[in-house]
């Protein structure tokens, strides 16, 4: 996938939010939500973004779709930078980029029928109307495992898993090339999660679009992704092919994150938590490497200089000063 041009290429993406205070609402600080993120996503590929709450993974996803305006940086879709485009100029690109949100209860209009919800993008973009639209919607329903006669039902008549299927059908309606999934299974029951994950994988195999997949559940991300990027306080600290990342985590934060996941096997030894304390505030992120305050390998250099992402093996990059083997499991 590296040979050909990637579908999506994000370079030095930054999103800062001003913090205002005082009587005059002057800016008193800046939330560094996303602070220089770069990655590429190939056609038919799934890139997982993991990290704890507040690490900026959802902001990255929304900025890529320009649902949130980036402060700076380039977002290239098929080589075209969409970051500086006006709303009107952006419109044709919107067709290629869709999103599935976490909460299928909040992201469906309760007053519209399921069929109208899925068909709405077709009318908005002037692709199909009338009987042709109905036909396309019925086809989409069938693709996501719903029956065509359910088109007349309202969202409250569906279960959580079925509602998420409606959201997926809506995202598919315009034949997108990139679908951003922001915690798409977190709100679902355990026995329903597998159904939705399998559906997402099957659809990608048939239609060859790309996913930018965000979830806090590492096991879910690992299952669905080809590559995984780990974020901490607005930056990517490690990015690698999935199996490489789980076999050879190089960044101390990735190691701690992986060690924190409880394993569903009572015989597996529980290691003591590798990191203490909480994620620092993104308003005043620590100097140098943002993780140095919780890192047990931190050296003086980590406090003053910010490490850049550097190659650590094939298709594996890590941002850590100890990236010479010493940062690995002893």
């Amino acid at each position: 996938m590296t040979e050909q041009r990637p579908l999506l290429e994000v370079t030095d993406l930054v999103k800062h939010y001003p913090v205002r205070g005082g009587v005059l609402r002057r800016q008193v600080g800046t939330v560094h939500a996303v602070d220089g993120v770069s990655f590429a996503l190939g056609t038919g590929e799934t890139l997982g973004l993991v990290g704890e709450s507040g690490c900026g993974k959802s902001t990255v996803a929304r900025t890529v779709l320009r649902l949130v305006e980036p402060t700076s940086g380039a977002i290239r879709l098929d080589g075209e930078d969409i970051a500086p485009l006006s709303k009107t100029a952006l419109r044709p690109y919107r067709r290629s980029m869709q999103i599935v949100f976490q909460d299928p209860f909040a992201s469906l209009n309760p007053r519209m029928t399921a069929g109208d919800i899925v068909g709405e993008p077709l009318s908005v973009h002037g692709i199909a109307t009338g009987a042709k639209k109905q036909e396309r919607v019925a086809e989409l329903f069938q693709q996501v495992g719903l029956r065509a006669d359910q088109m007349r039902n309202f969202p409250h008549q569906f279960s959580g898993g079925q509602r998420q299927r409606i959201c997926i059908a809506r995202a598919l309606s315009l034949g997108p090339r990139l679908i951003v999934c922001d915690e798409p299974v977190s709100a679902l029951d355990v026995s329903i999660q597998a159904q939705v994950i399998n559906l997402l994988i099957d659809l990608q195999r048939k239609q060859n679009f790309s996913y930018l997949f965000i979830a806090h559940d590492l096991a879910v991300v690992a299952h669905i992704s080809h590559r995984v990027a780990v974020m901490y306080l607005g930056r990517i600290v490690e990015i690698a092919d999935k199996h490489e990342l789980f076999a050879n985590p190089r960044h101390p934060y990735t190691q701690a994150l992986l060690a924190s996941v409880p394993i569903a096997d009572p015989k597996a030894k529980r290691s003591a938590p590798l990191i203490d304390g909480d994620v620092p505030s993104p308003i005043n992120p620590p100097s140098g490497c943002a993780f140095h305050t919780r890192c047990r390998y931190a050296i003086d250099r980590c406090k003053s200089e910010r490490p850049a992402l550097q190659a650590a093996g094939s298709r594996h990059q890590v941002a850590c000063w100890l990236n010479d083997g010493t940062g690995r499991d002893e």
Partner: protein
Amino acid sequence: MSEALPAETVLDVKNLQTVFFTNSGLFRAVDDVSFTVRRGETLAIVGESGCGKSVSALSIMRLVPDPPGRIVGGSVTLEGTDLLKLDDAAMRDIRGNRISMIFQEPMTSLNPVIRIGDQIIEAVRLHQKVSSKEAWKQAVDMLRLVRIPEPERRAREYPHQLSGGMRQRAMIAMALACRPALLIADEPTTALDVTIQAQILALIVDLQQRLGTGLILITHDLGVVAQTAQRVIVMYAGKKVEEATVESLFETPLHPYTRGLMASIPAVPSPDAREDVRLIEIPGMVPSLTKLPPGCAFAPRCKLAVDRCRQEYPPLDEVKSNHWAACWRAGEMAEAS
């Protein structure tokens, strides 16, 4: 302490039945459920939303909202006293004193306008005759026990000044302030990030063992169960469908629902994994409690279901030693494995 009386039963729940009266009819949220918890032991209750795991906990605390809910049968014996026979005043003496509960969302279960220390004091002074000065000292000690840094300063802060993990630590401090015999934790780490979850679980297990508290851990996360509990019960549609030691359950799950759950959850790839395994789905969805099928409630989703499953509810049998399952075909599965 816990070595002296290793097998002492703290809680004995027998044939508990809790029903809800709703517009769409009566439904049995907890249907004939029995279990015990011993000193220093962790019992996990596993199941999906609507399976009755949280209502079981609320029934033990006698906190089921009435109406629409009511406990209609069974007994809940805590340290020799049947809680279902107590009047409201006697029950208030038990709650927060002999049984405590930790909830999922620490922000909504702490009072936002009262300082952390004062909230712990409230629990202490309600049940113990101590001066406010002494109670404050105890509150600070509790915060130190749950490893909150600078406990004197934190006790004077308000909930919004604490991070999510710290708030859950404060909740634990409050719950354990009176040294209860039983602690019920309802999804205590579901709202937390995974690194914080690991810290909180380690803390709960450490304190529970040091203080000899019996713990009921309610969760949907099988990983959390495997890493913290000694015994597990699996609930489905208001009924207990399987009970076993944690080792036995993960080695040979005997109910098809438990097997389905285990197969449907993605695992973090092991370091030597190169292939992806497709997740095995449980078809269909959790049935509505007002429209339960006759026979086994899981039969419509079960690959192994035979005619008998659709007609008669299977008894909860001890299929292997210390391993119970309510399934007509559990015997066959035990032999096959």
